[in-house]
């Protein structure tokens, strides 16, 4: 392999000496992110865990190309991020469905905008995704006819439409009740097992991070930085039983001890 043109797998994420400053209204600058370094190999499920205000959403937005970094580099599949990347699927904290479109049209939106696939191909994929997120009957419904959990499922289906090599998720289950959230954890893992895209999953929920991720990056505050990088050796596939394992409790306690208050 030549060093200059090394082939990098599509879903690999590299973040190097990343920093982000925000200019305040009074001219003072806030250092939101500082000295962030990590590499995520393709296919890994990584949770970024931290207290609110640690800049974890900002970090995700920088990787997504929605915000510029103030310093450092981000690459996806070896390409420097200069804006939103076509191989990235993204799910936000809120579903952000367009209320004037049906569920089908919402899921199809990324492909409709790209205009690369035929209508038949898009329809086939939307059908598959509706089944995958267990909403096979909801295609013709309008978003406001769905519950919050169903809307978030639609948003995840939309993020998965183009078979992204990298899936970015910003606390996608944060606004849901605990039962719905645990259901969606299992659904997300089942979906992830099919193609195993790289996942960067931002959360402040310790149990969520342990249950979902292969690896947890713990963030500290002021400035936002990575203070720990911990593997979650719980095996795959995971199911409800994992939550009862002593190892699950131990990992949770280990993470809890690290998170700044």
């Amino acid at each position: 392999m030549s060093a200059a043109l090394a082939e990098v797998a599509e879903g690999t994420v590299r973040v190097g000496s990343l920093s982000k400053r925000f200019a305040g209204r009074d001219g003072t600058e806030t250092l939101a992110l500082s000295g962030i370094d990590f590499t995520i190999p393709a296919g890994q499920f990584v949770a970024i865990l931290g207290p609110s205000g640690c800049g974890k959403s900002t970090l995700l937005r920088v990787i997504a190309g929605l915000t510029d970094a103030s310093g450092g580099t981000v690459t996806i599949g070896g390409r420097a991020v200069k804006g939103p990347d076509p191989v990235v699927g993204i799910a936000f904290q809120r579903p952000v469905l367009l209320p004037w479109m049906t569920v089908r049209q919402n899921i199809a939106l990324p492909a409709e905008l790209e205009g690369r696939w035929s209508a038949a191909e898009i329809a086939r994929r939307v059908d598959a995704l509706l089944a995958m997120v267990r909403l096979p009957e909801a295609g013709t419904k309008m978003p406001n006819e769905l519950s919050g959990g169903m809307q978030q499922r639609v948003a995840i289906a939309r993020a998965l439409l183009k078979d992204p090599g990298l899936l970015l998720m910003d606390e996608p289950f944060g606004a849901l009740d605990a039962l719905t959230r645990e259901h969606l954890h299992d659904e997300l893992l089942a979906i992830w097992e099919r193609n195993r895209p790289t996942v960067v999953f931002v959360t402040h929920d310790i149990a969520e991070a342990v249950y979902l991720a292969d690896r947890v990056l713990v963030m500290g505050v002021r400035p936002g930085r990575i203070i720990a990088d911990i593997p979650m050796p719980l095996g795959r596939p995971r199911d409800e039983g994992v939550r009862g394992l002593p190892e699950f409790a131990r990992l949770g306690a280990e993470l809890r001890a690290m998170i700044p208050h």
Partner: protein, 275 residues
């Protein structure tokens, strides 16, 4: 419990559907209100022996209305006024929405034109009507143009406000999906703006009917609209004719308003209905 366990309570005679009763009641109340008002009017005119050239009785108005309808003159005039109103409405809305999109998307143009727009918007449109007669003649064009000037600014301003009201998270979604500017406009911003556009229609369509009538009253040559008829009948001291035209105008106003509300509901299908 299964539904079969419940004893079926079949009514002896089929009851009217639940929605029908309140509607019938509303219709009955409305009819009584109308008849009551007309009766009071008729009674007042008779008791006080009002000169019919000043205030005609409702019976006279209805007779005149019928005579004018049979004559065909009222229908022709209504069609002329309606054509002016709708023509001006369409031209005013299309240009208003078009310019709004252009200004919303092109910031330098917006900055350049804003002072002119604010200045023109402040001009009382009816005061310009005589100028329009000079510029566009005594035919329908000058009336259409006055309607356009009434429609244009509210539609422009409301559409611009609507285009700017797109929620940040929806715009960010479109950015993340690498949407072009045109795609973001067509799939997000225009939908967000649509309720604002309809709000301006609802306010302006009735105003534009007024504008067409005012323009007709200020001067119309060979084309006879409802405003022209008002001029003719008032010159003859024929209050019955004036009132007949007023009845047609209010019916027209109510119909146009109802039409906008209905079209708004159809077009804004995704909004939760109030009531």
């Amino acid at each position: 419990m299964s539904s079969t366990a419940e004893p079926a309570r079949a009514p002896a005679s089929p009851a009217p559907p639940a929605w029908l009763l309140p509607r019938l009641r509303g219709l009955a109340i409305g009819t009584l209100q109308l008849l009551g008002g007309l009766a009071a009017w008729e009674a007042a005119v008779r008791i006080f022996q009002v000169d019919p050239r000043i205030v005609p009785s409702p019976i006279e108005v209805i007779e005149t209305l019928w005579a004018l309808l049979e004559d065909g003159i009222l229908l022709d005039a209504t069609l002329v006024t309606l054509a002016e109103t709708l023509g001006g409405f369409v031209i005013g809305s299309v240009t208003g929405i078009g310019l709004a999109v252009l200004l919303a998307e092109v910031a330098p143009l917006r900055k350049l034109l804003r002072p002119y727009i604010v200045a023109l918007q402040a001009v009382p449109k009816v005061a310009v009507a005589p100028l329009f007669l000079i510029w566009f003649g005594f035919g329908m064009e000058s009336k259409v143009m006055l309607v356009v000037s009434i429609m244009f600014f509210p539609v422009l301003v409301n559409t611009m406000a609507g285009l700017a009201a797109a929620p940040e998270d929806q715009l960010e979604l479109m950015r993340a999906l690498r949407a072009t500017r045109w795609q973001t406009l067509r799939r997000v911003k225009l939908y967000v703006a649509l309720p604002y556009v309809f709000a301006s229609f609802e306010v302006c369509l009735v105003l534009s009917l007024t504008a067409a009538v005012v323009a007709e009253m200020l001067g119309s040559g060979t084309t006879v609209g409802l405003g022209t008829l008002i001029n003719i009948y008032s010159a003859r001291m024929a209050a019955g004719g004036v009132f007949a035209v007023l009845v047609v105008l209010s019916l027209l106003g109510v119909a146009l308003h109802g039409l906008t509300v209905w079209a708004g509901r159809r077009c804004l299908y995704w909004l939760p209905r109030a009531g």
